[in-house]
Amino acid sequence: MSKKVSTGFWGDAWRRLRRNNVAMVGLAILVLLVLAALFADYLAPYAYDAQDYDSVFQTSSAKHWLGTDNFGRDILSRIIHGSRVSLLVGFSSIITAIIVGGILGAVSGYYSGKVDNFIMRSMDILMAIPGMLLAISLAAALKPGLYNLVIAIAIAEVPAYARIVRSSVLSIKNQEFIEAAQCIGASDSRIIFRHILPNCMAPIIVQATLGMAGAILSAAALSFLGLGIQPPTPEWGSMLSNARQYIRDYPHMVMYPGLAIMITIFALNILGDGLRDALDPRLRN
């Protein structure tokens, strides 16, 4: 028996997560991606916009590990730089959506009645519009750019979190331990944030990992439509759409950005599963 220290809820969750090898692989991949994004300028062998018309459409070689595109730009460098945008958009839009949707859902579920009706009907209106279409119209209404891309995707994702959090809050708020918390004099905000929300972390985190994958794809799609990141800034989605027309002759151009997206989403999913288990003390110890 190792000596146990009181580390609180998150400390214990981390202890459990560390024992889950698959989740740790996911986390390792994500950490590598984040590092690649942070240090893209030092890691990338070429500048992302360095064109070389003597070597276009090259496949893998010692000079260009992942080949070059139609302008002779190094694909590896563009993928490394592109991870910045994809991860940034994925993380920040989902975090924004979780915070906004989570608070709306928690307030809605906890207070019920008129507040609940108002918030949830507004969410229903947002949900009635297909997420992609909503993001497209928002991105078109705002000016194209990184921040507006984040805002557009976040707004489209908010209702999903509001609903999930609300339903979890509804199922938890009538449990006796919430009444017990009221009995020791805990305030409403304390009950929501310390007692209810930690109890509904599992569905939020599962939704967040899937949602982040979706957000990365949405960002790609918006960039593809010209509403997201503007060229020449590399972005995995726009690299894909740009490579689309050469898919028959130069499949490596689609393969590598596609692989980058796939690996990121795979890492997010296995990490999400691990987090779900780690955050639920009933599942493992």
Partner: protein, 327 residues
């Protein structure tokens, strides 16, 4: 028996209704109670008699909607709890009045360590920093007979009896003046029941805490309480000391409750249950609510709700036939 003569809690004409689609549920009707400092009161009644609603009323936690406190006063330490602001009520809860729940399996937060849950109340009310609150929580844990090292464990790692000890530790963490125990032993098996009751009685004596014990188990009341209030359909029908209620029973309902208990000394083939069911709290019968089930019932019983009669010092009965019941 208590020696101090100052009432800690005095409930006057407390009336709580629940508004539902089928009608107004009269859960608590002009309920009167008083409790001295250091005393234990047993609140006895059937399911649905309004015991738990009364307890929630004292804590200011009657769910609203559908609950409405129609009237009455709850004087606690000289302050009317019903008139307090929400923030003031919060500072009373857990600090001066706390509650032990029926089912320790559901009254602990599954994702918080037991230590953090004990420390929470201390941190809310005593403005201690985290380390001091944790130190005090460990003391509380040891006081209820759980090793302090188990501070960082989660509720699912404890057995039912242990969890109820944790719940008791949470309730007593801020040294409340009044402890409300809502059927604290119903969910436990019999051997653990005795341990938990002993623990409550011991800690209550050590901390000079008053106790309201809500139960339908007259045996439990006899073990722990000084005073007993028998509740029927949201009213106290008989109130007195343990001795007065158990040996000088004056209300037909109380008598019926004793009649439906098995007796070790007498070899009875059948118990004598009280005929009929609790009245529907949406349509209480006119007059005495117990009259439809009562063998002493006469036409006068259905005319008006009987007044509280003091049949001997400290022994109050709501029945016009109390003389016959004794005979």
């Amino acid at each position: 028996m208590s020696t101090e003569r100052e009432p800690l809690l005095e409930i006057k004409d407390l009336t709580i209704h629940y508004k539902t689609e089928t009608g107004i549920v009269q859960a608590v009707n002009a309920l009167n109670l008083s409790l001295m400092k250091g005393e234990s009161l047993g609140l006895v009644g059937e399911t649905g008699a309004g015991k738990t609603t009364t307890a929630l009323g004292i804590l200011g936690l009657v769910p609203d909607p559908p609950g409405i406190i129609v009237g009455g006063e709850i004087n606690f330490n000289g302050r009317n709890l019903l008139a307090l602001s929400e923030a003031a009520k919060r500072s009373v809860r857990g600090n001066q009045i706390s509650m032990i729940f029926q089912d320790p399996m559901t009254s602990l937060n599954p994702v918080m360590t037991v230590g953090a849950q004990i420390a929470e109340g201390i941190r809310i009310h005593e403005k201690l920093n985290r380390l001091d609150a944790e130190r005090k929580a460990i003391e509380m844990l040891e006081m209820v007979g759980i090793p302090g090292e188990r501070f960082t464990e989660y509720p699912h790692q404890f057995s039912g009896g242990m969890r109820q000890r944790v719940v008791i530790a949470i309730a007593l963490a801020c040294n409340p003046d009044l402890l409300i125990a809502d059927e604290p032993t119903t969910a436990l098996d019999v051997t653990i029941q005795a341990q938990v009751l002993d623990l409550i009685a011991k800690l209550k004596a050590e901390h000079r805490t008053s106790l309201i014990l809500i139960t339908h188990d007259l045996g439990v009341v006899a073990e722990v309480c000084d005073k007993v209030a028998i509740v029927y359909a949201g009213r106290v029908v008989e109130y007195g000391t343990l001795d007065q209620i158990y040996n000088l029973t004056r209300h037909p309902y109380t008598k019926g409750l004793f009649g439906s208990l098995p007796d070790v000394d007498n070899d009875e083939l059948r118990l004598q249950p009280i005929p009929g069911l609790m009245p529907d709290p949406i349509n209480l019968p006119p007059g005495c609510s117990f009259s439809p089930r009562c063998s002493y019932c006469t036409p006068e019983c259905t005319l008006a709700i009987p007044e509280f009669v003091e049949v001997e010092p400290g022994h109050l009965v709501r029945c016009i036939h109390h003389e016959e019941v004794r005979a």
